[in-house]
């Protein structure tokens, strides 16, 4: 029974490490998917100046995971325009679905919502590019830090598990 308990304790620590790595990996994926969506957004805005409801539907079809949910919510909430601003709808959907982006990218993403649809095309495109730059910076630093963070996360959790084993054996 004691051995079984110790095993569970060690497995819990290891699981914590795996979970930490998974969160980091998920954040990387979210940043990549958001960047892809922004690329489509920039392209469609720049070439065909699609109206926002159609653009959101298109992005919903071409995005993955949380980013798809974000654009789905945006599409569904479009009829609220008039009672609410587009920026507030964007903010609500982003906080609900893209919270995993991290603080700085989220700030840039929310700032984009303030400009989209409201200003002339060139200003909107420059806001999209600015947001892309912020997200790309975050992605690059997160990708660079990921191997070390993974090692650290796994190392710490396994060490903790081993320490507990030694203490209780």
């Amino acid at each position: 029974m004691r051995i079984w308990g110790l095993f569970l304790m060690f497995a819990g620590c290891a699981g914590g490490g795996i979970q930490y790595c998974a969160i980091q990996k998920k954040r990387l994926a979210l940043l990549r998917h958001t960047l892809s969506a922004l690329e489509i957004l920039e392209g469609e805005l720049g070439t065909s100046a699609l109206p926002m409801p159609e653009l959101c539907q298109l992005l919903q079809r071409h995005s993955e995971l949380a980013v798809r949910d974000f654009f789905l919510e945006l599409t569904q909430r479009m009829p609220e325009l008039g009672r609410r601003s587009f920026a507030s709808i964007w903010r609500q959907a982003a906080r609900c679905h893209l919270a995993g982006l991290g603080e700085a990218p989220m700030e840039a993403y929310l700032a984009l919502g303030e400009k989209l649809g409201r200003y002339e095309l060139e200003q909107q495109l420059s806001a999209v590019r600015q947001c892309q730059r912020a997200l790309r910076r975050s992605l690059e630093s997160a990708e660079a830090a990921y191997p070390a963070e993974r090692k650290l996360g796994m190392g710490l959790s396994l060490s903790l598990g081993a320490l507990l084993l030694i203490l209780y054996l």
Partner: protein
């Protein structure tokens, strides 16, 4: 949702509440001017809607809702001076931005006028027998801006359709039919086909080719391209029903574009509208070249 309800969804709560308290059938326009109290146009006179002055945020939100948060794709419509929104027509004023000679949007918006389309039955009873004495002949409706041309045109379309004429309507702004997502909200009669979203020239040609109309109707012929549509149709054996900004035949003579129309004797009848609100009068006269 009727036109007034649609307009209410564009306004901030205090204005929406104030609007609901009014006799909604009489409101012709809602006018919002930055830093001033909002007003409504009833019977040709502006009346106070609310004590709360219009803020920049109110105008921006209106613009955003009317353009479906797509100022970039609404720019061509805005360049015409208005935004069509679910059958409403929203006129805008402000500081325009022009790039490479083209209007691309407003830097700031200073005022907006939301026009509420209305359906008024029985407007043409007084002159209808005379208008139809030799069957229907091409007819032009003339009045100054805000005179009720579109409302009369809408009623004439409905009445003619009710008399069995097959009508094709080029509703480029979606205002005649009160088009909302492709659904026609106004009563334009049983024998009426409505084409929305295309300019008058292309729309008229499409209707001629595809829908075999006996009468082609279009609102506000005001540009060279609209004139081309009129000239094209009159040579195709269909009768025309159209409206123009003018107070009468003298005004028409003063504009080169309309003078050409008079010289070619395209229209047989002219209906001029005078007065405002319930006091509007309709005068039917034979057109002279």
């Amino acid at each position: 949702m009727n036109a007034m309800e649609t307009a209410v969804t564009l306004l901030d709560k205090p204005y929406a509440d104030a609007l609901r308290k009014l006799d909604q059938n009489r409101v012709e326009e809602i006018r919002l001017r930055l830093g001033k109290e909002p007003r409504v146009l009833i019977q040709g006179k502006e009346r106070l809607l609310s004590d709360r002055v219009v803020r920049e945020e109110d105008l921006l939100r209106l613009l955003e809702a009317a353009s479906a948060a797509s100022a970039h794709s609404a720019a061509p419509a805005m360049a015409e001076g208005y935004l069509p929104y679910r059958g409403l027509r929203i006129g805008l004023c402000g500081t325009g931005i022009v790039r490479k000679g083209e209007f691309v949007g407003f830097r700031s918006c200073s005022s907006a006028a939301i026009r509420i389309p209305s359906q008024r039955y029985g407007l043409c009873e007084s002159f209808l027998p005379q208008l139809l004495q030799d069957g229907f002949r091409s007819t032009l409706i003339a009045s100054p801006p805000g005179g009720g041309k579109t409302t009369l045109l809408r009623e004439l379309i409905r009445v003619l359709s009710g008399r069995g004429f097959r009508l094709g309507v080029v509703d480029d702004r979606g205002e005649l039919g009160g088009s909302d997502g492709g659904r026609i909200q106004m009563d334009l009669g049983e024998h009426t086909d409505v084409l929305t979203g295309l300019d008058k020239y292309r729309g008229a040609l499409m209707l001629l080719r595809g829908m075999n109309p006996q009468i082609l109707a279009m609102d506000e012929v005001s540009r060279e391209e609209d004139m081309r549509a009129v000239e094209e149709c009159c040579a195709c054996g269909v009768e025309l029903l159209a409206s123009v900004h003018a107070s009468g035949q003298d005004d028409l003579q003063r504009r080169t574009l309309y003078r050409r129309m008079l010289d070619r004797q395209i229209f047989s009848w002219l209906i001029t509208i005078s007065g405002c609100g319930d006091q509007r009068r309709y005068l039917l006269t034979r057109m002279t070249g």
